[in-house]
C-alpha cells in the first residue's frame, strides 16, 4: 500500500477532526433535546461561552499551571540526567541508589505532597518539587539505559583509539542515549503536568497564584460546571501542547539520523 504522503496526512488530520465535530454535535443535541441543566452537563456552546467570558481568569490560571509543570520538568531533566550519568558511570552507584529512585516513583504524589507543602514554605516552589518528583523517573530510567546501550563495536573502536572517558561520554554515550532520553522526555512532560495539577489539588493555592486545579475546585464548590469544563479543556490543551513540544524537540535532535524520526521512507 503506497498512498501518497499528502493524502495520508489529510486523513490523519481530517479523520479525528470529523470525529470531534460529530461528538460535539451529538453532545450539544442530547443536552438540548433532554434539556439537561447546565450545572449537571453543560453543552459545548455553554463551555465555549464560559471560556470566552472567563478567559482572563482561566488563561492566567493555565499559564501558572503550565509554568509549574515546565519548571518541574526542567528540574527533572537536570536532576534526572545527572543521576543517570552517575548510574552509568558505576554499577555500584546504580545498585546502591536505584531502589530509592523506584521508591520515589511508586509513592503516590498525592500522599507525599502535603509533606512537601509543609517542608517547602513557598507554595509555588512546593508544587514545582511535586511535579519534578513525578517526572523524574522516566528520565532517569531511560537515560541510564541509553547511556549503557552503546554499540559494542563502537565501544571497542573508542577503546582502541584510547579515547578518554570524557571523549567517550560526549562522542559516543550521549548521542547513543539521546533517543532513549527523548522517549523518556515525552512521558515525563505529561507526568509533570499531572504532578503540577495533583499537587495543587492537595496543597491548594488561592489568591493570584492559583492554577487550573484551583479553578476546578472553586468551580466545583460553586457549581459553575461550565467553568469546570473549560478549565479541564485547558489542562488537556496544555498537556497536548507540552507533548507536541517534546515531539518537536525530539525531531529537531534526532530527525536526521534516528529510525524513530525518519518519517516515511520506502
Amino acid at each position: 500500500m503506497t498512498a501518497p504522503a499528502g493524502g495520508s496526512r489529510l486523513v490523519r488530520i481530517a479523520a479525528p477532526a470529523i470525529v470531534a465535530v460529530a461528538v460535539l454535535a451529538a453532545w450539544q443535541g442530547i443536552v438540548q433535546v433532554f434539556e439537561l441543566p447546565k450545572y449537571l452537563v453543560p453543552a459545548p456552546a455553554d463551555v465555549a461561552a464560559t471560556l470566552f467570558e472567563d478567559w482572563g481568569l482561566l488563561w492566567r490560571a493555565a499559564l501558572i499551571t503550565l509554568k509549574i509543570a515546565l519548571a518541574g520538568l526542567a528540574c527533572a531533566i537536570v536532576l534526572g540526567t545527572l543521576i543517570a550519568f552517575a548510574f552509568a558511570q558505576s554499577r555500584l552507584v546504580e545498585a546502591s541508589f536505584f531502589p530509592y529512585v523506584v521508591l520515589l516513583q511508586v509513592t503516590p504524589i498525592v500522599a507525599i505532597s502535603p509533606l512537601i507543602v509543609i517542608w517547602v514554605k513557598d507554595t509555588e516552589l512546593a508544587l514545582i518539587v511535586c511535579a519534578a518528583i513525578v517526572a523524574l523517573f522516566p528520565i532517569v530510567a531511560n537515560t541510564t539505559l541509553g547511556l549503557r546501550s552503546v554499540n559494542p563495536g563502537l565501544a571497542s573502536l573508542f577503546r582502541m583509539a584510547r579515547a578518554s572517558r570524557l571523549q567517550t561520554l560526549v562522542r559516543l554515550r550521549i548521542p547513543s542515549a539521546a533517543p532513549y532520553f527523548f522517549a523518556g522526555l515525552r512521558i515525563s512532560s505529561g507526568l509533570a503536568l499531572i504532578g503540577a495539577v495533583v499537587a495543587e489539588f492537595v496543597a491548594g493555592t488561592g489568591g493570584h497564584g492559583a492554577g487550573l486545579a484551583y479553578q476546578i475546585l472553586q468551580a466545583g464548590f460553586q457549581l459553575k460546571i461550565p467553568r469546570l469544563f473549560a478549565a479541564l479543556l485547558l489542562i488537556t490543551v496544555a498537556g497536548v501542547v507540552l507533548f507536541l513540544a517534546m515531539v518537536w524537540l525530539s525531531r529537531l535532535a534526532l530527525g536526521r539520523w534516528h529510525e524513530s524520526e525518519l518519517a516515511h521512507e520506502s
Binding site: L154, S156, P175, A178
Partner: protein, 274 residues
C-alpha cells in the same frame, strides 16, 4: 600518531626489513572465567607487509585471537609482542593498529566525513590535516562523493567501505579485519575483496584478516592459517604463492582451485568427523 605523511610518494623501505614482526604471539591461550577454552596455545608471527588470513569455522576462537591482538581482550596465558614491544608501545609512530569489525559500526548521527575523521579527532589531530587525510582515505575506497551522506543513506557495501576508510585514515601499521564482508552479498563481497587486495598492494599494508570463507582466504592472502573448532588452535598453514595484482582470472584458475581444495581438506581434517 603518524597521520597524513604523503604515503604514496615516500620512499618506503622494503617491508619487514630489519624490523621485528608486527605482531608475535607465543603460546597465547584464552580460557573464559566459566572454564570455556576459547583458544588453545597459539604461536604465530605476522611480518610487516604480509596479508595473513586466519580461516576457521564459526566459534573457533579466531575473533578472540584478533581481539587479543587488538588489545581488546587479554590472553589468559602466553605473551603477545607488538613490533617487539609490549602493548604500551602500540599507538606510537610506526606502531599503530586499526580494526575493521564484522559490521560497519559507524556513528549513525555523524556524516560519512565525520565518521572517517573520528580516529583523528579522538587523537586530537589538527583539523586541516585531518580533513586532508579523510579526503584521501575516502578517495582510496572510492567514496569521495559520499562524504556528506549519513550512514543510513548508504548500502551495506558502501558502509563497509566507509568503515575501511576510517581504519585507513590513521595509516595503520597493522590492520586487523574481523570478517568484514561476512554480512554482504556474494557479488559485493567479491568486489570488495578485489578492492582490498589492491589497497593492500598499493598502500603496502600489513593485514591480519579473519574469515570463514575459503575463497576469500585464498584470493586475498599471502599466507593462510587454518584453525580448528573448540578449543581453537592453529592446525595448518598454507602460503598462497600467487603474485599480485590478483584479478578475476585468478578466481577461476587451476591454482586457485588447488589452493581451495588444500584448505578445504585441512579444514575438514581439523573439524574431525561430523
Amino acid at each position: 600518531m603518524d597521520i597524513v605523511t604523503a604515503g604514496a610518494s615516500a620512499g618506503v623501505a622494503p617491508p619487514g626489513a630489519g624490523r621485528p614482526p608486527a605482531v608475535e604471539l607465543a603460546a597465547v591461550a584464552k580460557t573464559y572465567p566459566n572454564g570455556t577454552r576459547a583458544l588453545d596455545p597459539v604461536a604465530l608471527a605476522i611480518a610487516a607487509g604480509e596479508f595473513v588470513t586466519v580461516l576457521g569455522p564459526s566459534g573457533c576462537g579466531k575473533s578472540t585471537l584478533l581481539r587479543m591482538i587488538a588489545g581488546l581482550a587479554a590472553p589468559s596465558a602466553g605473551r603477545i609482542r607488538w613490533w617487539g614491544e609490549g602493548f604500551d608501545a602500540v599507538g606510537r609512530p610506526g606502531r599503530s593498529l586499526a580494526m575493521v569489525f564484522q559490521e560497519a559500526t559507524l556513528l549513525p548521527w555523524s556524516r560519512v566525513r565525520a565518521n572517517v575523521r573520528l580516529p583523528l579527532d579522538l587523537a586530537r589531530a589538527d583539523r586541516a590535516s585531518a580533513e586532508r587525510a579523510v579526503a584521501d582515505a575516502l578517495a582510496l575506497v572510492g567514496l569521495g562523493e559520499a562524504a556528506g551522506h549519513y550512514p543510513r543513506e548508504l548500502s551495506g557495501g558502501m558502509q563497509m567501505r566507509v568503515s575501511i576508510a576510517r581504519a585507513l585514515v590513521t595509516r595503520p601499521d597493522l590492520l586487523l579485519m574481523d570478517e568484514p564482508f561476512g554480512a554482504l552479498d556474494e557479488i559485493t563481497r567479491a568486489k570488495l575483496d578485489g578492492e582490498l587486495a589492491e589497497l593492500w598492494r598499493r598502500q603496502r599494508l600489513t593485514v591480519a584478516f579473519v574469515t570463514h570463507s575459503i575463497y576469500e582466504a585464498v584470493f586475498l592472502s599471502t599466507r593462510v592459517l587454518v584453525m580448528s573448532a573448540r578449543p581453537g588452535r592453529i592446525v595448518h598453514e598454507v602460503a598462497i604463492d600467487e603474485p599480485f595484482p590478483r584479478d578475476d582470472a585468478f578466481r577461476v584458475s587451476q591454482r586457485f582451485a588447488q589452493a581451495c581444495r588444500a584448505l578445504s581438506e585441512a579444514l575438514a581434517a581439523a573439524s574431525g568427523p561430523q
